[in-house]
Symmetry: C2
Subunit: 315 residues, 2 copies
């Protein structure tokens, strides 16, 4: 069975030639539409499914506010990865009849509270009822100056790979429900011209780093010893493949790395050098010793391929 | 329990004051954002749920192409209701593991085929797997000149209510899977300045006509004898309350009605005068005799209120 990336790629290839205003076609964290005077509108869709992205019952069950918050936060992370600023969202909820008005109100409360924090306005909604399951989707609309927007494809061999934050055990530690989307960091990196390729880590560091390489036409040497682990219990493998970190990975030209380290204004957000892009016509990722990084059973969170196991993968 | 309209209205009231570029705030068929030079971007979200909007199994079960087609068609109808032109869509599918790649491909085939017919490009997608149910949502992005866009709020007492097409038994006859969204009709009505208030009928003629009245601050006298029935078996009550017709209801200034009837270029689309807006501070709807139109058990399809029964309602 195909991965989600492969499935969508085949689909997009069958579409008619996009108009000139579609400056960033599908396949990046957001699509980008030119809307006059060098301004790009950024759009992305993402969703959460009960029992996949959060626990419905028992210990560790998510509160409705946390479910709503996570739905928006995932999407904000996609805007962050383009260096954009989020503006609007639209929400469709398809919820089980076991939820009452109070649950629904608290779910939207979670969305609205985070939205306010990031200056996002909800401008559309649709409510539906399912037989049994819970699913909700959200479309985020943001903006970025066309000259500043950061795509996945701009990394060059010799560029340095930086990350924000820490990796691994995002579900076990509850991070996946409480993480703060890196919008401010992303916008700053774009506006100052530091990041020339960027992606957010939703599906696992290794898988998302490979996407960055694939779009840029490079390989990558990862300093596996330097990858910031979420906690002392976190293994390297967990950091590389767990996913749901919602941190930024980005490429910086080598000559700018010193300046970036000095100028970084986000004291609470760890900034780490974790690798270097290398020349390669395949998106290979090697460790510090030059050995190929690969894990049996997959390298990330593209659970779309394991239909039985279920799961999802971000757009 | 609140209706969907009521729930969302309370929610939107709690949002911060929208910026000036949000020319059409939520509560209409689409939200409208000014994007320079008198151009509005129109955005709406809508969804379909298996077992609610289509049958999953047995006789009358929908083909995957039909499911995808319906998802887009519902959204196109929202753009039509603003007199807009559809441009882009993004799709999130949350599907049961019983569907294979072939099903998914056929589902997207249904979307893409209709999209091509209406010049719409798919620019984003997200695929997820649920434990059991099927849900999918779609965001439509369109455009309209700010001076031509048609809202729900423009009807005045004395205006004539027109409809396109026929009403009732949309599910029983399969119309809900095969209807042609009235985009061309809607855009023509807007560009020629005929429609000064418009809505599409997704939740029942009576319920959607009442929304038009509510937004416009008027009442309505419906010529119940003139409402075009889908078939000889269709009852008036079915025509008024079944929903899923996806026809346009619109207000036309009395002095323009003759010209409209003559100029109407869509030979295959019935155009019918079905009522007249009346002065009223409540959105009351009366029949030709002046009697209040109301049905026990509700007047439309706002199934959000009947959680046990399930269902949905469009945005």
């Amino acid at each position: 069975m195909q991965t989600e990336d492969e499935f969508l790629e085949v689909l997009y290839k069958r579409l008619p030639i996009p108009p000139a205003e579609l400056v960033i076609p599908p396949g990046d964290d957001c699509a980008g539409l030119r809307i006059g005077r060098g301004r790009l509108l950024l759009v992305a869709i993402d969703q959460i499914v009960g029992g996949r992205h959060y626990l419905l019952e028992g210990p560790g069950a998510a509160k409705p506010e946390e479910v709503g918050r996570k739905l928006l936060a995932r999407n904000l992370s996609d805007i962050a990865a383009m260096g954009g600023r989020p503006l609007y969202c639209l929400v469709a909820s398809a919820l089980s009849p076991r939820h009452d008005d109070v649950w629904l109100r608290r779910f939207f409360e979670g969305i609205i509270t985070l939205a306010r924090e990031f200056g996002v306005l909800m401008i559309g909604g649709d409510l539906a009822v399912t037989p049994e399951d819970d699913a909700a989707s959200l479309v985020i609309i943001g903006e970025a100056p066309e000259k500043k927007v950061v795509r996945r494809s701009g990394a060059r061999p010799g560029d340095i790979l930086f990350s924000t934050g820490r990796f691994g055990r995002a579900v076990a530690t509850g991070h996946h429900l409480t993480f703060k989307p890196r919008c401010r960091e992303g916008e700053w990196l774009a506006s100052k011209g530091y990041a020339r390729a960027m992606i957010d880590v939703s599906d696992g560091l290794l898988l998302d780093a490979r996407r960055l390489c694939r779009s840029s036409g490079t390989g990558l040497r990862l300093n596996t010893d330097h990858i910031p682990l979420r906690s002392p219990e976190t293994s390297l493998r967990e950091a590389l493949t767990d996913g749901e970190d919602y941190e930024l990975l980005f490429a910086v030209a080598k000559r700018k790395t010193g300046r970036l380290a000095t100028a970084w204004p986000f004291e609470e957000t760890p900034l780490t050098v974790i690798g270097e892009f290398i020349a390669s016509d395949k998106p290979v990722i090697r460790d510090s010793e030059g050995a190929l990084l690969a894990f049996e059973g997959g390298e990330g969170f593209d659970h779309f391929t394991s239909m039985e196991g279920g799961g999802d993968s971000g757009s």
